[in-house]
């Protein structure tokens, strides 16, 4: 074991980690609002909105992320008509894929708020949108917070899949350094530790919130 290889290449690896963080953050920022819209579509009473939303969610959820990434990597340039760069293609694929998972979390969050809450809101003279905004959504958000954070951790873990299309995120950077230095043991162990620390912090936070939710 020769751990100095990590110290030598730390700047390059950290650039990769920064790329992973950036990718995950952008994906969450874009996927969440998209998922809110689809979730509302999912519980809509209009079937021409409800069915397409359901088909979208189920299609995404029954395909592996890696395949979705391949799909988008192939399709996005064809549809747009010119190459858009690896980062954009991968990011679009991730956003579409994870928005389906966020949709299900948001949907169950909204549905976890009892129907009588809506009735109570309406009967005190609030409009439907006021009821949603002031009564349902605050409770829904609190209920789904732990699941949302867990999903953010999964998004971060999912960014490793950008490796397959050669995007230089953390795992890909680690891979490139092993190709040069031929020190897979140290480097992959280091990568595993870094991922563990980040994800463990995230999932511990989710667990704390879950506990607090039970108490209140």
């Amino acid at each position: 074991m020769d751990w100095s290889v990590i110290a030598t290449h730390l700047p390059f690896l950290m650039k990769g980690l920064w790329m992973s963080v950036k990718l995950a953050t952008l994906v969450v920022i874009f996927a969440f609002p998209l998922a809110c819209l689809i979730a509302v579509g999912r519980i809509s009473s209009r079937s021409w909105i409800r069915y397409p939303s359901a088909i979208f969610v189920n299609t995404m959820r029954s395909n592996p992320l890696i395949l979705i990434v391949f799909w988008f990597f192939f399709l996005v340039p064809i549809i747009i008509g010119r190459p858009v760069g690896d980062f954009a293609s991968v990011m679009i694929g991730f956003i579409v894929f994870f928005s389906a998972y966020f949709t299900e979390i948001i949907r169950s969050g909204i549905q976890s708020v009892g129907r009588n809450q809506i009735q109570a809101g309406l009967s005190t003279g609030l409009t439907y949108f006021q009821t949603m905004r002031m009564i349902v959504l605050p409770q829904a958000l609190r209920n789904m917070m732990p699941a949302l954070i867990t999903e953010c951790v999964i998004v971060f873990q999912g960014t490793t899949i950008a490796y397959v299309v050669g995007l230089r995120e953390f795992l890909n950077s680690t891979f490139l350094i092993t190709e040069i230095t031929l020190r897979p043991a140290e480097l992959y162990t280091f990568a595993a530790i870094v991922y563990f620390v980040v994800c463990f912090a995230g999932s511990s936070l989710a667990r704390q919130m879950e506990k607090r939710k039970v108490r209140t």
Partner: protein, 239 residues
């Protein structure tokens, strides 16, 4: 916006593509089924360990779950594939390298250990969802600890856990796509290869997507039926 693309669906039925597809589908199903069985076995053990009274066993169970859940599966695959053989004693390493189908074995190992952690969580929450009254009632009717689990808790918990156990099969099924990175020729890698050879990405990826989606639909339907058959009246309320 221009969409220029020449579809050529019949090419999928020609060699070598047809053979790649058949090999890919078989490998995917075979790998996921095997990994699922192993994951269930290990997962049940770890999940039960976490319910025991011994703090040491509980710690081991928790450590296992946290460890495998907080490292991305792709990184775990790489660690098993590139690092694990180097950690073995020299003689073992030699015999490991002599094994046939190393990528497949590595994939099986990584997938099942990873999924076992998820199964363990489901088992634990399944058992904790059982009302305490069930334990008390079983104990007061004179059953021993083993009998309580054998006749009351497990039949009860098993039914509660059917949906999650099934969804874990689908998780493995989808996660098996990651093993293409270490050279397992499952269906996504076949699709990728067809795309690379023919540049007919839409046809190639459609084959893979259809495989995943039909399997998902089949499993979901079958489990819905099974759940209905095994339902304890009044327990799993129909919505």
């Amino acid at each position: 916006m221009t969409f220029k693309y020449d579809f050529d669906w019949p090419m999928l039925l020609e060699d070598p593509y047809k053979e790649w597809i058949i090999e890919g589908v078989t490998t995917t199903i075979y790998l996921s089924l095997l990994a699922w069985v192993i994951a269930l076995t290990i997962g049940i053990i770890i999940g039960t360990i976490r319910m025991t009274r011994s703090p040491w066993l509980r710690f081991i169970g928790t450590a296992y779950v946290e460890f495998f859940r907080n490292i991305p599966l792709l990184v775990q695959l790489f660690v098993w594939f590139f690092v694990f053989p180097l950690m073995l004693p020299h003689d073992w390493m030699l015999s490991w390298n002599r094994l046939p189908h190393i990528p497949f074995i590595t994939a099986l190992l990584a997938l099942s250990l990873f999924t076992a952690a998820r199964v363990a969580e489901h088992i634990r929450s399944g058992i904790s969802s059982i009302p305490k009254g069930q334990f008390d009632a079983a104990r007061s009717s004179g059953l021993t600890e083993v009998q309580i689990y054998r006749y009351v808790i497990i039949p009860y918990a098993f039914r509660v856990m059917i949906p999650t156990i099934a969804s874990e099969f689908l998780t493995i099924f989808k996660n098996s796509a990651l093993t293409l990175t270490i050279g397992v020729s499952e269906i996504t890698s076949s699709a990728k290869a067809i795309e690379a050879w023919s540049f007919h990405g839409i046809e190639a990826y459609s084959v893979a997507s259809v495989t995943y989606m039909t399997t998902t639909a089949t499993v979901v339907l079958f489990m819905g039926w099974l759940e209905h058959r095994l339902r304890i009246p009044g327990l799993i309320a129909k919505k």
